[in-house]
Each structure stands twice: as C-alpha cells, then as structure tokens.
C-alpha cells in the first residue's frame, strides 16, 4: 500500500514524463491539475484535458503539427474544442491549421452568421492584434492561411471561459513581447501559460516591429509575479509554462524578472548619460547574464535585447 501511495504521489508531481521520444522528438510532461506541456515543437504547447474535451494553448511550428496532434491524442481522445494563441509568432501558431482540423466546434441553433463552416474544426482564440497580423486588409495577400486565423478575438482586458470544470482567463498584456500577447491562466489547476513574455532559454525577444516594448515586457512579467503564488518553502505552488524552456514556479520567474528590470535600468541610466545605441552595446551592460541568456544566433541575442530596450526607451511618445 505504501508502495502504491508512493507511485501515486510520484504521478501527481509536476514534471513527470508521460511520453518522450528520441532526440529531436516531443516531450510531454504533466504540469499539475489538468494541464500538460508538450515541448520540442517550437514554442511550448499547453494542453488542458477533461470530460468536455481538449483545450490547447499554442500549436508549435507547422512542420511539427502531425507530431503535436499525435501527442495531444495520447493525452486525450476527446474533441479538441479550443486553441488559444498567446501571440502571433509562427513557432506558436504554425500548427493552428492542423490542430484546428483535428478538433471540432459544437454548434446549435443559436449560431449566427455563416453556418456552412460552423463546426468545422476547433475554435481559435487570441487577442485581436494576432488576427490583424495573421490576416491582411482586403485585397492584399495574408501572411498565413485563412484556416490558421483566430476565429474569436478580444480587444482589451480579459476573456473568460469555463471548460473542463475549470475557470480559464485569457488576459491581455499590451505592448510586451508583441502587441498581441495573452497570458492564459488555468485557475483550478493553478497554471499560467506565459507565451514568449517569459522564456528560460534566452533573453526576451521584444518584437519592436510587432508592437513590443521593454516597459510592456516588464509590466507583463510583474503581472505574472502577482498571479503566481509559491508553494510551501518557496517552491511549486503556481506553475508557469514559459514560451520556451522548462516548467517554472515563481522563484524562477523572479530571477528572470529581476534580470530584465536590472538591464532595463542600466540602459535607462546610459541613455540619461547621452550614450548612443552603439556605445551602449559596446559597454557590455549585459555581461553578467550573457552566459545564461544570450543566444548566440537567432532570436534573444544580447544585441537584440539591448537594441529593443534602447529603441523603446528612446521612442518619441
């Protein structure tokens, strides 16, 4: 009995491996409550399962979508009813078409508008700017296919949903990583999905061209800090799924929030001294964190981070 209890306790602990393939394949871990994370498909993917069906937060890269659908199916054979996109980037929305197609929307007589495609695939929810950036004004070529676009958007504040016996909040974080970021909060499972506002792999990539800003990034990190409550002895409690990297709790986020705030303050002080962007880059103001968070290539390099902070702090309002 004791052995059984130990096994059950282990199964309930966060981070238990449910499925792990060979190198380069997806890893599925239980976070806590009804929420799981699938990593290895681009951005992290959160999956909530229950009696009603499946809700998926972000869908990874398009090229990984078959594997993503298969991984979701290992967690539940119930219908995928909802997809929520935390932001617009293709490593988080690339699988929208395939995951949507694998799901469905229950419809009835109260559906208004065009009924011909109602019930085809899962709904996709996102902040309105995600739709704007994935689509295009009439007559222009959209950057993403129609089936990948959000089917339901919200403008400000928050959108709420009760699904699988759990209140879920989708909370807008203005001008942070992009201009369309949402946090997704699973209130009963006590899990926050942060999107790329918080990653453990690199510096935050502040996409200035898509409306991101350092102050929005700092505000969003502090918002997650306010939501997350650490468990006994400052560990566990609320779990946070970052956009990339490992499952976190509040102390992990704290270290990251401190880092982003400190570097922002340093660059703000340098700007006050009249330093140019090139001078700031040459000053090595991120050297204490470069070894941990400075990507060597791609997104999240120290130079990109410094430049984004400098540009958004000096931008004329």
């Amino acid at each position: 009995m004791r052995a059984v209890a130990a096994v059950l306790a282990l199964a309930a602990a966060p981070g238990i491996v449910l499925a792990q393939g060979n190198s380069g394949e997806l890893v599925t871990l239980k976070v806590q409550g009804n929420v799981y994370v699938i990593s290895g498909a681009g951005g992290n993917i959160a999956v909530q399962t229950g009696d009603q069906g499946v809700l998926v937060v972000d869908t990874g890269l398009a090229a990984m979508s078959d594997k993503v659908v298969a991984a979701i199916r290992k967690l539940s054979d119930k219908p995928i009813q909802y997809i929520i996109n935390t932001h617009v980037h293709p490593d988080h929305t690339g699988g929208n078409v395939a995951v949507r197609k694998a799901g469905l929307t229950y419809v009835g007589a109260n559906v208004t508008g065009n009924l011909t495609d109602a019930g085809v695939g899962a709904q996709i929810w996102a902040q309105d700017n995600v739709l704007k950036r994935m689509s295009a004004p009439t007559g222009q070529q959209a950057p993403t296919p129609f089936d990948a676009w959000p089917t339901e958007t919200y403008l400000t504040g928050r959108k709420q949903l009760f699904f699988n016996g759990e209140p879920i909040e989708i909370v807008y974080q203005p001008a942070a990583h992009t201009d369309g970021d949402s946090l997704v909060i699973f209130r009963r499972s006590d899990v926050v999905v942060a999107g790329d506002i918080f990653v453990t792999t690199t510096y935050p990539f502040i996409d200035v061209d898509r409306g991101g800003s350092i102050q929005g990034e700092v505000d969003a990190l502090n918002n997650i800090m306010d939501i997350a409550i650490p468990g006994l002895q400052d560990e566990g409690g609320t779990y946070i799924i970052p956009g990339h990297g490992h499952i976190c709790d509040q102390p992990d986020l704290l270290e990251y929030r401190d880092m982003v705030t400190i570097i922002r303050d340093r660059i703000q002080a340098a700007i006050k001294k009249g330093m140019t962007l090139e001078q700031v880059k040459a000053a090595g103001l991120t050297k204490d964190y470069d070894g941990r968070y400075g990507a060597k290539t791609g997104f999240g390099t120290a130079d990109m981070f410094v430049e984004a902070i400098y540009k958004t702090l000096t931008r004329k309002k």
Binding site: G15, V17, V218, D219, P230, D234, K287, D290
Partner: protein, 289 residues
Amino acid sequence: MRMCKASFALALAVGAWGQGPGGYNPVGPGVSLQGNWGPVFHEDAHERGPGPELVNYLGLPITDGARMYGLAWDASRFTIPEHQCEVHIVSYIYRGPYNLRIWEDRDPVSQRLIAIKQYIDNYQQTRTIWMDDRPHPPDAAPHTWMGFSTGKWDGNILTVYTTHLKWGWIRRNGLRHTDQATLTEHFIRHGDHLTHVSILTDPITLTEPLIKTQDLVLRVQNGQTWLYPCEPVVEIERPRGTVPHYLPGENPFIHEFADQYHIPAEAALGGAQTAYPEYESKLKQAGTK
C-alpha cells in the same frame, strides 16, 4: 536435470539483484547514513552565522560575468517580499546552521534501496537521492532548490549527482550560480562523523569546479529545532517591480572587505587564481601587502 536448470536460472536472477555468497542480500552495498546529524559549527563559523562580507569573493573561481552579477547585487534585495523566503540551494545549504535527518526508503517486499532521503530543517527541505538507477528528467522538467539527485555507492562512499537546480548561492553576498549548474557530492561516514564533499560545476559562473567540504556529527539527543516557517512581509514600500541593485561601477562596498583585511582589491574580487598558494607570491612580487 530440469531442476538443475531451474536452480541455475534462479541463481542468475538473484545474482542480478546484487547478492553475495549465501543468498539474497537485501541491504545492498554501502553503509547506513541514517540518523540525525548536526554540522560542526566551528568550521567556517563566520560563513554559517553572520555570513560573508560584501564583495568578499576571495578564493572563488568565478567568471567575469558572475563577478559583475555580484557587484550589481544589493543586499536590499532581501527586503523584496518575493526574495525573503528564498531557500538556500542544495549546493549551499550544508554550509548553514541546520539539523540533518537521513533515512532510507526501501521497497517493502524486496528491501531494495529505492532512495536515501534527507530532511534539512533550514528552510524545511526534504531531499530525495534516488538509488534505483532511474534516469534524470528531461530538460523541460521543473528545477527545484534541492534539484534531482541520483546516487550510487563507491565502496562505502555515497556519491550523488544532481541536476535541475534553480539559481542559487555560490556565496550569499551576491554570487549566484545559474540553473544550468550541476552538483556532485560524496558522503563519507567515519563512525559518528560524516564528511560531505560537494563539487559544484557551472560553466556560466565558474571557471573551474568549486569544491567544498563540511563535517557533521551524529546526534543521539533529541530536542533540535526541526521547523523553519517563513512568511514574507513588505519591509519597505516601493513602486511595483522595483529591484534594488547597483549600476555598473557604483557598488559602494567594493573596497570595504579588502581595506578591512589589508588585501588588494583585486584579490577580494576573486577568480580561480586567488584560490591557489601561488597567488600570494604573485601579490608579493607585485609589491602589495
């Protein structure tokens, strides 16, 4: 002949479970570390009690990045509620004041050793050292204050390997290792004494492994304190999201320790070279005190 084959198969099967001559050995290798242990307090007493001086990095093989992190660290960060209950990481906690309880978790049927468990009253940490050859979790799994530890017996020495650590103290004056650090430990029992050797590796903050030892003695008397409740409070009202820190070049304590002990400021800033005896000669040659 048939029975003979069966006996041979049984012998092979039992042998695979680590038995010695004379039958199944449920206890396995190693020695028992079980009991209540207390640190030998006079070892590194200054480190255990008041803690290290600000900007005293002497003898620590830190990288330039780790030094910059330390110089930016303002002790006022402890006034931020979210930092107040921060646990001393497993690579540091054995240098504190604490009581340590060690026990074994064995399979009730086979008596095979599943895990060696430790409870450290400082921050009420329960640590599990898995002894059943299980793999470490994937990268995406959470990182914890005690990390994920697996152990094996090297003769009578318990060797433990730990991954999945959080950021934590190298020294609690601002020097931190990252969550990419790993820890190798040896627990060596000499009668009623236990020596703990820790070897911390972090390519981001350390240029070479940081090796420390500390000793503990077996305690047969009950009555120690085993609890450490911690509740954060707002000590200083500040604007939301404030993180106390020193801007580069503005740490006011950079010379305090060096001046107090009449050593060069360069030595106080640490680095691997300051850990070795040759460094003293080098300083003398350079004409410093």
